[in-house]
Subunit: 173 residues, 2 copies
Amino acid sequence: MKRIAVDMDGVLADVYSQFIAMHAAEFGIEIPRDQAIGRPEAEVFINERKYVNAPGFFRNAPVMEHSQRILQQLHQQYEVFIVSAAMEFPNSLSEKLSWLGEHFSFLNWKQFVFCGSKAIIKADIMIDDYFKNLDHFSGETTLLFTQPHNQLAVTGRHTRIQTWLDIEALLLK
Amino acid sequence: MKRIAVDMDGVLADVYSQFIAMHAAEFGIEIPRDQAIGRPEAEVFINERKYVNAPGFFRNAPVMEHSQRILQQLHQQYEVFIVSAAMEFPNSLSEKLSWLGEHFSFLNWKQFVFCGSKAIIKADIMIDDYFKNLDHFSGETTLLFTQPHNQLAVTGRHTRIQTWLDIEALLLK
């Protein structure tokens, strides 16, 4: 059974919606998603650091469309691990655990990994929205999940996917 | 540079001292360490589950003798990761992070991994006190750190170490 390492932020959790909502709440301006294309999150949302450290940022993040149904199917055919670079935000640890328990209750805590660097992860397939994680992955398949910050980048050896429906088409046959 | 995955509980953190202290506080009886030899922790300390879920259990655990000095030296010669099966105890996540920050401040959050199963860990050397973690490790070297619960077990392919001084002798030449 092949092992998949699935990222949280930007893959399962829609963090952009959180950034947009918190920026709007602070400045009264709703930044359109298009304005974030090709730019680092911290450049688009000038108080990004404040938002990710705010209580509730991770706990209340919306779930990415189709991810629940498709991950549940992957869970039948693959060894699924949720791998999140959560150590940078100490407050996020318990929020992320609660969030997974609420939205992905078919998974077991044994399938969760909160780390700093993902270089230590051993799997066959990695789904992530950041090159820094995919580039050092030793497994065979690297899927770059499209998010505004990576939208203009050349994917190189990674396969770009636009939505969870692409993952369904690629991994569930 | 070889990568080492170092366990926390029973390797860096002296959890037996916590069990003994909390059992003594509850029942007024100090169980000698010898009585725990060859027996699961949950059998020796009948309220073990309650203790590990109590606030402060992980945060206030004593540091294993010599571990700070020797891990700091390993950190110069190896790629060190602290890998803890912390997901079983949701309250432990932030406590463990604070504990590492206090006692092993020379390490960076990028070197911490909190997981459920350690099967996903890719490293060359694993130091752990549980067979369930060492048995599924794909790296070349598995060091079984002696703790009362594993003290009578036949080590098989793993190398038994008694204290951090054994790790110093084995890995720091």
